[in-house]
């Protein structure tokens, strides 16, 4: 699938898919990479080294620092795929150097799929 490059690089990993938006601040623990938002579809799951797939960001604009912090703490997702990346997530992934693509039909990616994310060519391959 072709999309739009938000942040360059390539990543390979297992997809973890959320049908709901993600707010990184208050939504994901910066030290463990575990989703802590109550009643979120991914609550209790870790995003570490995964290809994190979700429609769009939500909530606090401090989310950019959380994404940067996840990377510095070694618990960040390997890559991010969105339907639409808004500024908060974009700023975070650019600063953290996490490959990211948006404008992808994320319904075609299932939880547990092996995904190759080639942000440089704005390409997502489900293997």
């Amino acid at each position: 699938m072709n999309g739009r490059m938000i942040s360059p690089g390539t990543a390979k990993g297992v997809a973890i898919v959320s049908t709901e938006p993600i707010g990184f601040y208050g939504g994901i623990d910066i030290k463990t990479g575990i989703v802590i938002e109550k009643d979120h579809p991914l609550e209790g799951k870790s995003v570490k080294n995964k290809i994190l797939v979700f429609p769009c960001g939500k909530g606090s604009t401090v989310g950019s620092y959380v994404i940067y912090g996840l990377k510095k703490n070694g618990v960040a997702p390997a890559g991010i795929i969105n339907k639409e990346t808004e500024t908060i997530v974009a700023t975070g992934v650019i600063l953290a150097g996490i490959p990211c693509i948006d404008q992808i039909d994320i319904e075609k990616i299932k939880d547990g799929d092996a995904v190759l994310l080639d942000a440089d060519n704005a390409l997502v391959t489900v293997q």
């Binding site: 208050g26 109550k38 960001g57 909530g59 604009t61 401090v62 620092y65 912090g69 500024t87």
Partner: protein
């Protein structure tokens, strides 16, 4: 994107490493979102101030910027810090936390940022005008400035706002453009809204429904700026609403195109269900008001309710240092403290480490706070109107 000669020079490193790095971030964002050029900003508001939010990685990032001589070009305010910057010891904030929080503040001050920490900069001396381009990041302040004032800002991430402050510019896309400020969903209200918590419940419900859309409200009979602040804050927390219009209440409502929009009806039923949903606890250990930061009117109203009372359990009201000064002068602080309550400045319940201070259940009248407290402060929440909350603590 078109860049001026000066801007190209910044990008080539002609103005130093810090400017190059931060300007590169802005250019990248501009390229992604289709900006044709950069525009100057009138003011900036930077989120990512509490040590609890930015952590060690954020602190290192900020100290690195400050030590390399980064300086802001426009009036720049800060979001709430993780503690009352003057009264933290008395209020029981942990010492190790305070030490790191002070380092964060020092880094910001070194960059020329006004170290007044508030999520309501528009009540504390950073007030944009109608149609002024700004780069703000606190999600509730973004909503207020776009919607209630009619200034123009995208939802900036903490670092992209800092970049805008230091470069004095922001890429011209999104909500800076008139055509992108048009509503795409209509919300019709058929319910009486009286307390701020009613507006919070409404905002929480609508934010969940519309996610990052621009709602156009009809049927809100009246609302003051405190209530509009509560509405916008909740929508920005449960969703990503950066701008809303409200018929007869907000300045762009008459100007935008609102024909043929999908309509969502909200009645008392949806609000009651939202109250129920946001309640996860009983009998609060502490009640915390002032999310977003209380106006003087809200502090005055709490003082009225507490006059002559003796609280059994604590009630805090969070506000900016400026409002606290006025409350001190008016005697509101004395009344609230005599009853056993506290006015807490510079911080709020969401970004302060209340879970480390022995509190397990927090009572709030804010839809935004009710949204964040369970995840970020591990609190059970009692969400109710101010009268019920205060009564419960007395």
């Amino acid at each position: 994107m078109y860049l001026t000669k000066e801007e190209e020079d910044i990008l080539d490193g002609g103005k130093g490493e810090v400017l190059e790095r931060l300007f590169r971030l802005l250019v990248r964002l501009g390229d992604i979102y289709g900006a044709e050029k950069m525009i100057p900003v009138g003011s900036v508001q930077v989120a990512g101030v509490s040590y609890k939010s930015v952590g060690d990685p954020g602190l290192a990032f900020l100290e690195d910027m400050a030590s390399k001589g980064a300086k802001v070009k426009v009036l720049t305010y800060l979001n709430p810090a993780g503690m009352d910057l003057e009264n933290w010891e008395k209020l029981g904030f942990p010492k190790d936390f305070a030490k790191n929080q002070i380092r964060v503040m020092d880094a910001f001050k070194k960059m020329g940022i006004v170290v007044t920490s508030t999520c309501t900069p528009y009540l504390a001396g950073n007030l944009p005008r109608f149609r002024e381009h700004i780069a703000w990041s606190e999600s509730s302040a973004v909503s207020f400035s776009n919607s209630v004032i009619g200034a123009r800002t995208n939802r900036e991430g903490g670092p992209s706002a800092l970049a805008a402050a230091i470069c004095g510019r922001t890429p011209n896309y999104g909500l800076h453009l008139w055509e992108k400020r048009q509503p795409n969903v209509k919300i019709n209200i058929d319910a009486d809204l009286s307390f701020s918590s009613d507006f919070g419940a409404l905002g929480y419900f609508v934010g969940k429904q519309v996610k990052n859309k621009i709602p156009y409200f009809t049927g809100i009979k009246d609302a003051n700026t405190d209530q509009l602040k509560a509405l916008g804050a909740a929508m920005a927390a449960s969703g990503a609403v950066a701008l809303y219009h409200a018929e007869n209440l907000t300045p762009e409502a008459d100007l935008v195109e609102k024909n043929g929009l999908e309509t969502i009806n909200v009645s008392k039923k949806e609000l009651d269900e939202t109250y129920e949903k946001l309640n996860s606890g009983k009998d609060p250990d502490i009640v915390i008001l002032g999310c977003p930061h209380a106006s003087l009117r809200e502090i005055s109203s709490l003082a009225d309710k507490l006059k002559g009372k003796h609280l059994k359990k604590p009630v805090w009201i969070c506000t900016s240092r400026m409002m606290k000064e006025a409350a001190d002068r008016m005697g509101f602080t004395e009344i609230i403290e005599k009853a056993g309550g506290s006015i807490v400045a510079d911080t709020c319940m969401v970004v302060s480490p209340i879970e480390r201070m022995g509190y397990k259940t927090t009572g709030v009248n804010s839809g935004k706070a009710a949204n964040y407290l369970p995840g970020f402060c591990k609190q059970d929440v009692v969400f109710a109107n101010i009268d019920k909350l205060v009564e419960g603590q007395a």
